[in-house]
């Protein structure tokens, strides 16, 4: 079996019923997706399979042979953050960070497929994602603001990151 992960075509040797999550983490060393419950209930393992968000813990790898998989690592890097990633940093939407890989993936898909900044709709799109730290408010704020995409992460003189909004979030 083969899957393409964040652009790299990789051979998969795990048995066909192995969950995509375990293939990613234990065989391919892609550890962004997290094992929060391994029962589909928390959302931390969510990845894009052929562009659609999917719980990797619910997916037998043999069912997606040949597919394109994108994990949080594939959405942006520290020096090249995506709007959703920037907004999550800016709005403190990641606290302990364990749910963040799934949240960012799901939020990215939501916005890429034309999702609005309406709180109810964002809530519905992220309904399958559990966060125990933030109380969700900051996450929803971040997704709504990322709709505008007006963030910039610049380095301050002290060397740490600071975030600067370059425009009003709509």
């Amino acid at each position: 079996m083969n899957i393409t992960v964040n652009g790299d075509e990789l051979e998969v040797r795990s048995p066909g019923l192995t969950s995509l999550l375990r293939v990613l983490r234990d065989e391919l060393d892609v550890v962004g997706p997290k094992a929060g419950c391994e029962a589909g209930g928390c959302g931390a393992c969510t990845v894009l399979v052929d562009g659609a968000p999917r719980r990797s813990c619910l997916t037998a790898v043999a069912a997606i042979d040949g597919a394109e998989v994108t994990t949080v690592e594939g959405l942006g890097a520290a020096d090249d953050l995506s709007p959703v990633q920037q907004a999550f940093v800016h709005y403190y939407a990641a606290q302990c960070g364990f749910c963040t890989p799934g949240m960012v993936v799901a939020a990215t898909h939501y916005l890429d497929s034309g999702g609005s900044d309406d709180r109810k709709e964002i809530q519905e799109a992220l309904r399958g994602h559990v966060c125990r730290c933030t109380g969700y408010v900051k996450i929803i704020e971040a997704v709504a603001a990322a709709r505008g995409g007006n963030f910039d992460l610049t380095t301050t003189a002290e060397g740490g990151y600071t975030t600067v909004m370059t425009g009003d979030a709509k």
């Binding site: 994990t71 949080v72 990641a94 302990c96 125990r132 975030t163």
Partner: protein, 455 residues
């Protein structure tokens, strides 16, 4: 003071959003074994047989650890504070809660470890259980702990946390109303997104590198060192990246047992709990049983409070004596009550041991106190803000344990809530401040409790 007032980003935010933050389960080391635990399937039983020889023979299994492998089997989480030990690292001849760890199997993969666990021969003789803290004191209650059903080792071998302040008898004689309530918040599982996990690497120089999701690294260091009888300089804890804790990762839940398996196997070992194990066997916030009886005047002064608290500690003491002590100090909430009679017991049951969660011991009593305040308001037809403002802590009021408050904010908080909710306060209440009591704010019954010393 560059940071004050500035909008500083989280130092770890970029790592979180890019998937680069490394949690314990994200570490990979060469030759790592996976561990699986044998946990008690029953709530209370004697272990009448424990034989691991077949498990050791399962292909892929490298080490099976049980109580016989632990240099110091019992070490209390609060031994450092003089609270004696009662909990074995791995169960020996008895299990007291469902999910209690009995053995850990380290193997090439999880399947082999699981097969190893299944091959352990164990037999139990079930014993009666105790679930309701109120029944713990009955003469026919099941006895679930070797110290009896409640913790007997407070200072001077007292079997309760006791507070006596003022003259409770007089308070009740002087009261116009006696108002009672019982409050019973339930246990709460912390449900961190990251389940308990640790990975221990035996280094070639004889040290152990311990990757831990603990909220309390130095604390865990002491616990591990004591159980393993290994000096601190042989232990290196790598931690600080915690996938949610909320108090539930204060207990040293997995590191010590993982270390033991790594030492025995001579290989790195990782032990990650499943979500089911997390729900079943990780500690929870305690359920509490609280009874409050207040002596109140018709014009809304609380003269005295009698309170009984039964703190459900679960099967072992862990931090509960400490949690109950904090609870007792806060049993008047944000209010000043001059005459007090408090008895609190740490009660053992067959639940999973309970622990800290966001304001250990205090959230329960705050809930009870505020609910009771509302009950008094309802029963006497008082104004909810004015009743609270009247009894609110002021500078130089004293707490149940006679700490003199230097800067309590209750008055200001209540006034701003009233403002925010559009509740009109009578002029005297709107003008109240946190300054020391005088005039109408200092009735006779409060004179003696005031103190400028003792902070």
């Amino acid at each position: 003071m560059k940071a004050v007032g500035a909008r500083l980003p989280r130092y770890d935010g970029v790592g979180h959003v890019t998937g680069q933050t490394t949690y314990v389960d994200d570490f990979r080391v060469h030759g790592m074994l996976w561990a699986k635990a044998l946990r008690s399937p029953v709530h209370h039983a004697a272990i009448t047989k424990l034989d691991t020889s077949r498990a050791e023979a399962v292909p892929g299994v490298h080490a099976v650890v049980t109580h016989t492998d632990v240099p110091q089997l019992e070490y209390g989480h609060l031994s450092g504070l003089g609270i004696p030990a009662d909990e074995p690292l791995l169960a020996k001849d008895e299990v007291r809660y469902m999910g209690q760890p009995i053995a850990l199997v380290a193997a090439e993969d999880l399947e082999a470890a699981t097969a190893g666990v299944a091959a352990i021969e164990i037999e139990y003789e079930e014993r009666p259980t105790l679930w309701d803290v109120r029944e713990a004191f009955d003469s026919d209650a099941a006895v679930v702990h070797r110290w009896g059903n409640w913790y007997p080792h407070f200072e001077d071998e007292m079997d309760r946390r006791q507070i006596r302040k003022g003259d409770i008898q007089k308070a009740f004689e002087d009261a116009d109303h006696i108002i009672q309530g019982v409050y019973r918040p339930a246990a709460i599982e912390h449900v961190p997104m990251e389940t308990q996990v640790s990975m221990v690497v035996p280094e070639s120089d004889g040290r152990l590198t311990i990757h831990s999701c603990t909220q309390a690294m130095y604390f865990s260091l002491g616990v591990i060192s004591a159980h393993l009888q290994v000096p601190l300089n042989k232990l290196k804890i790598v931690g600080g990246t915690v996938g949610g804790g909320f108090g539930g990762k204060v207990d040293t839940a997995s590191e010590t047992i993982t270390a033991l398996a790594a030492m025995k196997a001579g290989r790195p070992v990782k032990w990650r709990w499943t979500r089911e194990e997390e729900f079943l066997a990780s500690s929870t916030r305690a359920p509490w049983h609280m009874e409050i009886i207040d002596a109140v005047t018709s014009d809304g002064w609380i003269l005295g409070r009698k309170m009984l608290t039964l703190h459900d500690s679960g099967a072992y003491a862990r931090f509960s004596p400490y949690g109950l002590t904090k609870h007792s100090f806060h049993h008047t909430g944000a209010y000043t009550i001059p005459h007090l009679h408090f008895d609190g017991y740490v009660v053992f049951t067959n639940r999973v041991p309970t622990t800290a969660m966001r304001g250990f011991g205090v959230t329960s009593v705050s809930f009870a106190v505020e609910t009771h305040m509302s009950r008094i308001v309802d029963e006497l037809g008082l104004d909810p803000y004015e009743f609270r403002l009247k009894n609110a802590n002021r500078i130089h009021d004293t707490s149940p344990n006679r700490i003199s408050y230097t800067d309590p904010s209750t008055v200001d908080v209540l006034q701003s809530i009233a403002g925010a909710t559009g509740h009109d306060l009578a002029p005297a209440y709107a003008a109240a401040t946190r300054e020391p009591r005088e005039g109408e704010w200092l009735p006779d019954h409060l004179v003696d409790q005031i103190s400028t010393e003792g902070h």
